[in-house]
Symmetry: C2
Subunit: 184 residues, 2 copies
DNA sequence: CGGTTATGCTGAGGTTCCCTCGGGTTCGGT
DNA sequence: ACCGAACCCGAGGGAACCTCAGCATAACCG
C-alpha cells in the first residue's frame, strides 16, 4: 500500500526547479516579493505553466526560497541559546532575523500573513525566539511582560522598515525597541 | 497674462469628486489602499476615466482623502505643543498619528514612499513631530540622540504593524519603542 | 432663453499580470 | 526500442491599469 516504489524525479524537472529558484531569488531581491511571476519564468527560460507546476502559489515559491536559506539561521539561533549573556543573545537573534527577513522587500508582509505554506519556517523561528525570551526573562533581563509574540511583531515591523526606509534608519528603530524591551 | 478670468467649476464635476472620495474612503477601509480603482469608480456610479480625470494617480486620491481629515490631527498636534509634560505630549502625538495612519491598510507603505503628492501632509506632520521632539529633548526626557526621523519611522512601522497584526499587538510594540525612546 | 464653448464624462481598447488546463513532449524504466 | 508516467508548453479567460477620441452638458453671454 505505502510501498509505492516511486520513480526517480526527472532530470529536466530538477533543472527547471533550480533555475526557477535562482531567478526568483534574483528578481525578488531587485523588485520585491510582488514582482511578476511571468517575468521570473521568462528569465528562467521556462513557460509560465512550468512555474505553477513547481510552485502552485507565490507563497509556495517564497517558502521554498526561505527553506533553502534557513539552515544557517536556525543553527545560529540554537547556538545563541548557549550564549552566556541571555540579553545579548536575544538582541543578536532579533537583529539576525531582521537582516534575513529584509532580503526581499515585501517579505515581512508575507510572513505576517502566516499562511500554511510558511508554517514550518515560522514555527521554528518563533520557537527559537520563545526560548531566548524565556531565558532572558529568567535572567531578569526583560522588562515587564514582554512575550515571544512581541518579539515576532518587532522583527516583522523592523524588517518592513528596512524595505521602506534606509537600513540605517530601520536599525535605529530596532535599537530603540530593544532598549525598551531589555533591561540594561 | 495671469488674469485668465477662469470659469466656475461644473456642478457635476464637484458632485462626482465628492462621490468618488466617499466611496474611495469606504473601499480603502474595507480592502486597503491596494483596492481596485475600477471598483471605486463602479461604486461611485462613474466611469473609470472620470476617476482618472479627478485623481491622476492612486496616490493623488489618497492624498485628497488625507487632506480632508488632517485638520483635526494638526490641531491636536499644535495643542500638544503647549502640554505641560513634553514626554507625555510626544507619546500622545505618536499614538494619535498611528491611529490615524492605520485607517487604511497599506497607507503606511504609501506614506513611507514620500511621493511628491503627499509632500504637504507629510511635511506638516514631520514638522509637528520635530517640534515635540525638540521640546522633549530640552526637558531631558529623550534618551540619547533620538531624532524626528526616528519618530517618523516608528510611526510608520507601528501603523504597518496595526494593519498586519492585531491592533493590540501593534500597540504593545509601540509601547515598547516609546519606552526605549523616552526616559521614564 | 437659445447659442457657443470650455469643461468634463464616457467606455472601448491596448497592456500587463494572474492562473488553468488540454494536448504534446520527454524522460526513466524495462 | 518502446511504454507510460511525469512534465512542459502556451493559448486563453479574467481582472485591473491607464489612455484617449469623441460626445454630452453645464456655465456663460447677449
Amino acid at each position: 500500500m505505502t510501498g509505492a516504489a516511486t520513480r526517480r524525479p526527472r532530470a529536466d524537472a530538477l533543472r527547471n526547479r533550480e533555475r526557477l529558484l535562482a531567478e526568483a531569488d534574483a528578481v525578488f531581491r531587485e523588485q520585491g516579493t510582488g514582482a511578476s511571476l511571468e517575468g521570473v519564468a521568462r528569465r528562467a527560460g521556462v513557460a509560465i505553466g512550468t512555474l505553477y507546476g513547481h510552485f502552485p502559489t507565490r507563497t509556495a515559491l517564497i517558502a521554498a526560497l526561505l527553506d533553502a536559506r534557513n539552515r544557517e539561521l536556525f543553527a545560529h539561533g540554537d547556538a545563541l541559546a548557549e550564549h552566556p549573556d541571555p540579553a545579548l543573545a536575544l538582541a543578536d537573534w532579533v537583529r539576525a532575523v531582521v537582516r534575513h527577513a529584509a532580503a526581499y522587500q515585501g517579505l515581512a508582509a508575507v510572513l505576517a500573513a502566516r499562511s500554511d505554506e510558511l508554517q514550518d519556517s515560522c514555527h521554528r523561528l518563533t520557537a527559537i525566539g520563545e526560548r531566548l525570551v524565556d531565558r532572558a526573562r529568567a535572567a531578569g533581563a526583560l522588562r515587564g511582560d514582554t512575550t515571544g509574540a512581541d518579539v515576532f511583531t518587532l522583527m516583522n515591523a523592523a524588517a518592513w522598515a528596512r524595505g521602506h526606509d534606509t537600513p540605517a534608519q530601520a536599525d535605529r528603530l530596532l535599537d530603540l525597541a530593544l532598549a525598551g524591551m531589555i533591561v540594561g
